[in-house]
């Protein structure tokens, strides 16, 4: 008994010496710990600092412009002749408008396509195919933007100029036919449901035939109009919007696919168990549940198109004016990013001051808009989370 207890205490004592640190050791560890904390803090705050510095420096160089030329010309005049020797004009309205137009068009192209592709990847295609397709789509993000710009300039531009009308008509048919089939299917189903059971089948086919006829006529008419269209200049808003859309696609697809996958099996199986079809499950359960993720994907994609410089500089034509009429996306346009990239080389702080600072005013506009967008996205996502939380309770 005694022997055992002594061995026990010896073991305990040895353990204590191992567990308790000497004063020196604890000091060293304390310092190292602080150092580690400090290092991590510096690293984490460096990105924040970078953002603050960017803001500070851009504001510092943008303010002199507004002091020199005032606000009203910059935001209301469409005449941009900053390099003119005797009467420079600094109206950025056309450039601001063109930038918005290009971003909007790219968004209209990339967001629906990206989300549909993500739905297809997450819920429609077999898992094995998804594993192959998703990385391929993500490779798109790795292609440098100058390559996209080259593609837009050398392939798309001549294509638009030489076969523009036919290309547009082809695109119309490619989008129009599936939409037409779906519309015909759904509408004929809804309309024929009012008939008696016996007559329903016949009614359905007649309604479908009439609807399809109308739509085909519409497509033929519009297609004819489009194919007779001549695109004078292939470097235009449509061209870059398409390319920007393609560039933003991997972001949208990847983020929304993650959001859709994160919804989980339980919700889907619950929905199926209640007798919902696959389409109903997708549209009424999975997509609303992934809503905030899809929204974030859309914003990220739009931001990608919003900030892109190289492609627009190479292939948008860079005419600083509002297209006439304003929705004519077949005319050359100029964006803020392209203006900054193209004109920064010639200006200098020491001379031509207004021109130099006007470019920083543009940069400030870009920065503010993208910050507002990011904040809006953040706010929306948080709100959705809160609402979902309440629903769960």
């Amino acid at each position: 008994m005694e022997v055992q207890s002594t061995t026990g205490s010896r073991v305990r004592r040895r353990a204590e010496t191992k567990l308790c640190l000497s004063r020196r050791q604890s000091l060293v560890r304390g310092i190292l710990g602080r150092l580690g904390h400090g290092l991590l803090f510096v690293m984490a705050s460096s990105s924040l600092l970078a953002v603050l510095f960017i803001f500070a420096f851009i504001i510092r160089d943008a303010v002199p412009f507004f002091r020199l030329r005032g606000f009203s010309e910059f935001f209301t005049s469409p005449h941009w002749h900053p390099a003119s020797a005797d009467s420079p004009e600094f109206g950025a309205l056309a450039i601001l408008f063109d930038h918005a137009l290009v971003t909007l068009c790219a968004a209209m192209f990339t967001v629906p396509l990206g989300i549909v592709a993500a739905v297809c990847l997450s819920d429609v295609l077999p898992f094995a195919i998804r594993q192959i397709v998703k990385p391929i789509i993500e490779i798109l993000a790795a292609i440098p933007s100058v390559a996209f710009g080259f593609f837009a300039l050398v392939i798309l531009t001549p294509l638009f100029q030489n076969h523009g009308g036919n290309v547009l008509a082809g695109a119309l048919w490619a989008v129009g036919v599936p939409v037409m089939l779906i519309v015909t299917w759904v509408l004929s189903d809804i309309l024929s449901s009012k008939f008696k059971v016996g007559a329903r089948k016949a009614a359905r086919w007649t309604v479908a035939a009439v609807l399809a006829g109308i739509q085909v006529a519409l497509l033929v008419y519009l297609g004819g109009k489009l194919s007779s269209l001549v695109i004078v200049s292939g470097t235009n808003a449509l061209n870059v919007s398409l390319v920007l859309g393609i560039m933003a696609l991997p972001t949208v697809v990847s983020v929304s696919e993650d959001a859709l996958t994160a919804v989980g099996r339980e919700l889907r199986e619950g929905s199926y168990a209640l007798g919902a079809t696959r389409a109903e499950t997708l549209v009424k359960v999975v997509m609303p549940a992934a809503g905030s993720g899809l929204f974030a994907a859309a914003i990220l994609g739009i931001m990608r198109a919003f900030g892109e410089t190289m492609v627009v500089w190479m292939a948008a034509g860079n005419s600083a004016r509002i297209p006439s009429p304003w929705y004519n996306i077949l005319q050359p346009v100029r964006t803020l990013t392209a203006t900054i990239a193209g004109e920064m080389g010639e200006t200098d702080q020491t001379y031509g001051a207004a021109h130099y600072h006007s470019l920083f005013a543009m940069a400030l506009c870009l920065l503010i808009v993208s910050f507002l967008c990011n904040f809006a996205a953040e706010w929306f996502v948080r709100r959705t989370h809160k609402r979902m939380g309440k629903l769960a309770k």
């Binding site: 005449h79 003119s84 200049s233 292939g234 190479m314 034509g317 005319q331 080389g345």
Partner: protein, 291 residues
């Protein structure tokens, strides 16, 4: 503890190695600087003069193996900026320095000296299918096209096509020369398209039937058609003799006249040699010498 000790040992060993290598490098570069026939020349500036500077640099480095020459092409304005800031030895420029640039330079104690290395004609070019190509235009007609007074090729006796006006970006030296020699400082029409490089300009004209644009003589090839301006076709003879109206000298600027016998001096006088003339001709510019 053992692990930590070994790590620190490795770290110390690594540090020592790095220091040793660095010291060796410093010693070597110092030795190289002392040796005769070596040196470093930094050239920055125009994309138009760039090909000349590059060809000269390649040739010069092959003849003087100890010399390293770096050539950047960031635009004439940036070249001037770099020379004023002292970050380059030679600024290549496709235009003369502006008043403001000269002032900024002298304020900083930099005294720009111009060396004309070659002449460059700016060719007004259209698509080969354009019938105007056979007829040519006057400087005034070109100006009217670019200001937006003439909007359709039919107004000049060509086909009924809306004119697509293409200009170089406003920060290029080619644009400034065009603005000065053709536009006489009138403003370009708002729907003028801007491209960022000579090759992009050629690409746009080549692929657009109704386009008009301008490129340096060195960038002309069979895919686009240069126009006679005021009855003079742009070629070596008309540009060198000054008969072609849209031509300009190309410059290398140094801070003061370079020390005689130095590498910079040899470089900025290379164009006066037979080899220099050959290189200038090969690139497609017009030499200032006639051997």
């Amino acid at each position: 503890m053992m692990e930590r000790k070994s790590i620190s040992k490795i770290a110390v060993a690594g540090l020592v190695t790095v220091l040793a290598v660095e010291a060796a490098f410093v010693v070597r570069t110092m030795a190289a600087d002392d040796a005769k026939g070596s040196g470093k020349i930094v050239i920055d500036g125009s994309t138009t003069v760039g090909p000349i500077a590059k060809a000269f640099a390649e040739y010069y480095m092959s003849v003087n193996p100890g010399v390293t020459i770096s050539v950047s092409e960031s635009g004439s304005g940036n070249g001037a900026k770099a020379l004023i800031a002292g970050s380059c030895d030679i600024a290549s420029m496709s235009r003369f320095m502006k008043d403001a640039e000269f002032k900024a330079a002298t304020d900083k104690g930099v005294f720009p000296v111009a060396h004309v290395v070659a002449m460059d004609g700016i060719a007004i070019a259209v698509h080969p299918s354009n019938p105007i190509a056979g007829r040519g235009l006057t400087v005034k007609q070109v100006r009217d096209i670019y200001t937006g007074k003439i909007n359709n090729w039919s107004e000049l006796g060509g086909p009924d096509l809306k004119i697509v006006r293409i200009s170089r970006d406003t920060s290029s030296g080619t644009y400034e020369t065009f603005e000065g020699l053709v536009m006489k400082n009138e403003k370009l029409a708002a729907d003028t398209e801007y491209v960022g490089a000579q090759a992009a300009m050629r690409e746009r004209i080549k692929s657009t039937a109704s386009a008009i644009g301008y490129v340096g003589l060195g960038f002309l090839d069979d895919s686009i058609r240069a126009l006679e301006i005021d009855g003079v076709y742009p070629d070596n003879n008309t540009v060198a003799s000054g008969r072609y109206p849209v031509a300009r000298p190309l410059f290398l600027f140094t801070n003061g006249y370079p020390a005689l016998g130095g590498h910079v001096h040899a470089f900025v006088t290379l164009h006066l040699s037979r080899k220099g003339q050959e290189m200038v001709e090969q690139i497609g510019y017009v030499p200032v010498t006639k051997y």
